[in-house]
Each structure stands twice: as structure tokens, then as C-alpha cells.
């Protein structure tokens, strides 16, 4: 499978990444290499194999429903680039 420069641009937009033209070409080649490798893997019949979603065998790592606020309002807002006394402030977004 091969992808084109348009796909690279779409993926970059979805991931909010910006590439200049040289980087774009690099990405294109890298991604195509990865996809070629995927194609190679696909030659193997995996129809009877469960997908490996997790590396660990562990299941059901759960919490009891006990509530407490781990950090204060001030601590939460401390690293925000923009804030006021109540809210995080971000550039205006509308749906």
C-alpha cells in the first residue's frame, strides 16, 4: 500500500502537526516504509488469532467508587498558559 502527499497532509492536520516540504517528503517515505512492512505482515494468516491489544496479561485493574479531589483549584490552574481566577482560557472556539 502506498499513500500520497494529500494523505500526509490530512494526517498532519488531524494530529495538529506542521511539516515543511522537506519534512513532508521524509514523512511520506517513512510512512510508506511502515506500510510496506504492514503489507508483509499481512501475508500471514491471522484469522484464528485474537488481536493483541495489551502487552500485559492483567485484567480488571479497578477502583472502588471513593471520591476525593487530589489537587486544589490553584494547583490545577498553575501551569495553564492563560487563565483567570476560575477558568482556563483558550483562544475562542465555536463549533
Amino acid at each position: 500500500m502506498n499513500i500520497d502527499i494529500q494523505t500526509i497532509r490530512k494526517l498532519a492536520h488531524l494530529a495538529r502537526l506542521e511539516f515543511d516540504e522537506t519534512k513532508e517528503q521524509e514523512m511520506l517515505q517513512d510512512l510508506n516504509k511502515i506500510l510496506d512492512w504492514m503489507d508483509k505482515l499481512r501475508e500471514l494468516d491471522t484469522s484464528a488469532v485474537e488481536p493483541l491489544t495489551h502487552m500485559s496479561e492483567e485484567v480488571n485493574v479497578l477502583r472502588e467508587d471513593v471520591a476525593f479531589n487530589a489537587i486544589s483549584h490553584e494547583e490545577g490552574l498553575r501551569n495553564a498558559p492563560k487563565k483567570d481566577s476560575d477558568y482556563f482560557r483558550v483562544p475562542k472556539v465555536l463549533d
Binding site: 490530512k10 488531524l14 495538529r16 488481536p51 491489544t53 495489551h54 500485559s56 492483567e58 485484567v59 480488571n60 485493574v61 479497578l62 477502583r63 472502588e64 467508587d65 471513593v66 471520591a67 476525593f68 479531589n69 487530589a70 489537587i71 486544589s72 483549584h73 490545577g76 490552574l77 492563560k82 483567570d84 476560575d86 477558568y87 482556563f88 482560557r89 483558550v90 483562544p91 475562542k92 472556539v93 465555536l94 463549533d95
Partner: protein, 486 residues
């Protein structure tokens, strides 16, 4: 729009309902889920999406999701993998929402709804999956920036997705009523649409009747009440039919409903929509529901509205209307059910609960749990009326108000104290009747001359004389006999 034109088309509707779960803490962290806290106080490093933090699943949220699945006749998925739904929006700190994609915890269920003609219809449930809520963005007028509050970010939700089995807005309404009843009976969500703890999006399409392919569907959002869901669907059906009639093509898009105008307007077309790039969430272990776990939830299931409805109509012989009113909330239904453990006059119990009990609660805006009288006390009043010790009017006007003020009193003691034990002793009553007739010779003469309506006036006088304690049935019978014999 012309009914004839509307009738040519078949609307097809599917609903997606988000229900905020009533857990104490969030889905993947311990922050409290309390509604109405000061902005950005129910937060943690996990909620804010700080690097290096790891989510951990709230067991209670899973219990709640399974309960909803059992209540809607779903199959419960035994091995669950969480997924990341990726998109950028300021109210989503991690840049992805943790949800379930390939393995929704509940699948293939149904909810029975009641149609206007009394018929039942099953609305099938495609899936119910667990996910987390986003924060809240505020775009205030005059502000050049958007304000974000993360208190709600990470609050557990279930999304209940129906099959496109719904054919008009009345069915959509009935379905939502049923979903709300279920989540409230299960005590897993408060069901408040105005406050956003229950949210509904509608997928609406229309096709010519008899067509074998659905029309292009449009997703309608932004409805904050059951009534507005109904209005939005009605409007959307008409809009689409008008377009098709004019030879236009319907585009797949998301439209927002405006409650002020009753109209929907385009928000974004599906083509330019996000590509969510779902993939398994590596930070959460798989969730495996064992037989034991499922059995435990089965044992915790309360009686559900349709079960109580069946009991009230079939076992107690109540009219459908009564059963509907009584099963509207779990608390009223349970209270009524308890009254019926102390009396077999089920209809009287129903009248008492639907009437005086509910009015009292409404007037004082109280919850059933705050109602001062025990179910047995209501049953005792019923038995006093049934045995003719007090009449119904005295019971509702005097005994009931007295008892709610003095809940430790027995109904019989109250009746005695208020001097309401009625005279049903024939001899005593005859004495009162004679007295009234003797005091009103003129009226008696008029009666004999044919003015039979005066019976009512005589009854009134007797009631006055006995201070309302005369048993009306016996008195009336004795009075009629007396008058005939004159």
C-alpha cells in the same frame, strides 16, 4: 404541510441517549462528580491530561452500565476493551475520549414502549457503551476567549444507541420516557434533561412508504427537554419531506435545534467531520465480567416499571391509568406496593396514593422518603372507611391531615380524638332523623306535595346535627324509609 404529502413518507428515527452515571467519583479518577461545584475544583492530574498519568476504571460505573443492560434485555459483553476516540477540542484535555468501540458492554436489547392506542412496541437497542464526559466550554458574549471548566471532564457516561425502530416523534417521546424511568428505577442517573444529565441526539431520515432503502440520515443535536426532542424531530421530518418534494437531495450532516424558533440548522457536514481514528486504549487493562459479577448485579436489580405495572394491573386488578401513574417513579410504586401489603382494597389504596399522598408531597415539594405516614397507616384509614367507622370525607378532610401532623397517632385513635367515629347505629340515627323532620314541618309538607329533591336538604341537616358523623349510606336509607312512611 399537507397531511396527504406527509403520509406518502415513512420517517425512520434512531436515538442516541447519553446518561451521566450517579457515581461518587469520575470514570477513571477519584475526583468528585458533584454538580454545581465552583469551576475547576473537581480536578486531578488525570482529568487535566497531564503527561505520565494513568486512568483506573471505577467499578461502580461498570455495575451501573450492566444494570442498564439487564434492564433493557441486552447481552452483556464479557471481555471489554476500551478505546481512544481522537479529536482536538479544548474541553477534552487528553486529545482523546476514552470510550468503547468494538466491545460495547451491552448489546442487542430492547425496550418496550406504550403507544397512544395502548399497544406495546419494542424499540431495539443496538448497544450501550461506557465512556467519559468532556469538560464545559463557555463562549461568553463580548469575550475574546473561550473559558473552560473541567469539573465535568471524566464523569462516567453510558451511551444508549437505539436501532432505527422509531417511526414518529410520539414514539421517540415514549422511548425517552421509558429510558428515563429505567435509569431512575435503577438509581444510576437522575434523568434530568434540563441539567444535561440525560442528553439525546436524534438520527432522522425519511423514505417513500414501501421503499426498501432508508433515506439519507441527518443527526439532530441540542435538545434539552423531551418536548424539544419531539419538536426537533417533527420539524426535521417536514424539512426533509419538503426538500424531497422539491426534488432536492438530502445531505448527511449534523444539525442543531433552536428551541426558540423550533427550527434546525446545519452545523457541519459529515464529509468534513472528524476522523476519530479509534484504537485500543493501552492505559486500561481489559475488563472481564465474570459469572459471579453478573450474578451479583442480577441480585441487585430492583423491580422494574413494567414488572410493577403488570403486577398492579393483573394481580391487583387496577385500571391501566392507575398503574401508569403509580409506576411513574420507583418511590411511589414501592410505597403503594407496601400499602397493599396491609390491605386488599387495592383500588382504595391506589386512590389514596394517587390522591391525598401525592398532593401532599407535591404541595410541600417533598420526596416520598420524607412522607410522615407509614404505608400501614394509610391501610388503617382504608380499613376504617371500609368498616363504616368513618366516612370517606372525614377520612380525607380530617383524619389524613391530622395524621400527617401527628404521625405517631393511630388512625382509629385520631378518629376517636376528633370525634369522627360515625353513627351507624340505626336507633341513634332514627332519633336524629326524627328530630330534623320535626324541626322542619313546612319542608316535610312540601316534600309530601312532591318536592322530592328536599331529601338532600334533610340529609344536610342531619349531617349538621351529627357533625358529619352520620354514616351517609345508612342515614340515607333510613331517611327514605321514614319519608315514605309519612
Amino acid at each position: 404541510m399537507d397531511k396527504e404529502i406527509l403520509d406518502k413518507y415513512q420517517p425512520i428515527i434512531g436515538l442516541e441517549v447519553h446518561a451521566q452515571l450517579l457515581t461518587n467519583s469520575k470514570a477513571f479518577t477519584a475526583d468528585t462528580t458533584e454538580y454545581g461545584s465552583l469551576p475547576n475544583t473537581n480536578i486531578s492530574a488525570i482529568t487535566l491530561g497531564h503527561p505520565g498519568t494513568l486512568p483506573r476504571l471505577n467499578k461502580q460505573a461498570v455495575d451501573f452500565a450492566i444494570k442498564m443492560g439487564l434492564a433493557t434485555n441486552c447481552e452483556i459483553t464479557r471481555t471489554n476493551i476500551f478505546a481512544r476516540k481522537n479529536y482536538f477540542y479544548p474541553d477534552l484535555p487528553k486529545g482523546y475520549q476514552i470510550t468503547q468501540d468494538k466491545t460495547p458492554i451491552c448489546q442487542k436489547g430492547f425496550v418496550a414502549i406504550q403507544l397512544a392506542d395502548g399497544q406495546e412496541k419494542n424499540i431495539h437497542i443496538t448497544r450501550i457503551h461506557m465512556e467519559e464526559d468532556a469538560g464545559k466550554s463557555m463562549h461568553l458574549a463580548g469575550e475574546t476567549e473561550t473559558l473552560v471548566d473541567f469539573n465535568r471532564a471524566g464523569v462516567p457516561l453510558i451511551e444508549i444507541v437505539s436501532e432505527p425502530d422509531i417511526h414518529n416523534s410520539d414514539e421517540a417521546y415514549a422511548y425517552l420516557v421509558e429510558i428515563k424511568k429505567l435509569v431512575r428505577y435503577l438509581d444510576i442517573c437522575d434523568g434530568n434533561m434540563e441539567e444535561g444529565s440525560l442528553r439525546c441526539d436524534a438520527n432522522v431520515s425519511v423514505m417513500l412508504k414501501g421503499a426498501d432503502k432508508f433515506g439519507t440520515k441527518v443527526e439532530v443535536k441540542n435538545m434539552n427537554s423531551f418536548r424539544n426532542v419531539q419538536r426537533a424531530i417533527d420539524h426535521e421530518i417536514e424539512r426533509q419531506i419538503a426538500m424531497l418534494e422539491a426534488g432536492e437531495t438530502i445531505e448527511s450532516e449534523t444539525r442543531g435545534f433552536d428551541a426558540n424558533t423550533g427550527l434546525t440548522s446545519g452545523q457541519r457536514s459529515k464529509e468534513s467531520m472528524n476522523d476519530y481514528r479509534y484504537f485500543p486504549e493501552p492505559d486500561l487493562t481489559p475488563l472481564v465480567i465474570s459469572d459471579e459479577w453478573l450474578d451479583r448485579i442480577h441480585r441487585q436489580m430492583p423491580s422494574l416499571p413494567h414488572e410493577l405495572y403488570a403486577k398492579f394491573t393483573k394481580e391487583f386488578g387496577l385500571p391501566e391509568y392507575d398503574a401508569n401513574v403509580l409506576t411513574d417513579t420507583k418511590e411511589i410504586a414501592e410505597y403503594f406496593d407496601q400499602v397493599c401489603q396491609h390491605t386488599t382494597n387495592y383500588k382504595a389504596a391506589s386512590n389514596w396514593v394517587m390522591g391525598p399522598v401525592k398532593s401532599y408531597l407535591n404541595e410541600l415539594a417533598l420526596h416520598v422518603s420524607e412522607f410522615p405516614l407509614q404505608p400501614a397507616q394509610i391501610a388503617e384509614i382504608i380499613s376504617l372507611v371500609d368498616s363504616n367507622k368513618i366516612n370517606h370525607t372525614a377520612a380525607t378532610r380530617n383524619i389524613f391531615p391530622h395524621l400527617v401532623k401527628n404521625p405517631a397517632t393511630m388512625a382509629l385513635a385520631a378518629a376517636e380524638e376528633l370525634n369522627l367515629i360515625q353513627e351507624s347505629d340505626d336507633n341513634a340515627l332514627v332519633g336524629f332523623i326524627d328530630q330534623v323532620l320535626q324541626n322542619n314541618p313546612k319542608k316535610v309538607a312540601e316534600y309530601k306535595a312532591g318536592k322530592t329533591a328536599l331529601v338532600g336538604m334533610f340529609m344536610g341537616e342531619i349531617m349538621k346535627l351529627t357533625k358529619g358523623k352520620a354514616d351517609p349510606k345508612t342515614t340515607n336509607k333510613l331517611l327514605q324509609e321514614k319519608l315514605k312512611a309519612l
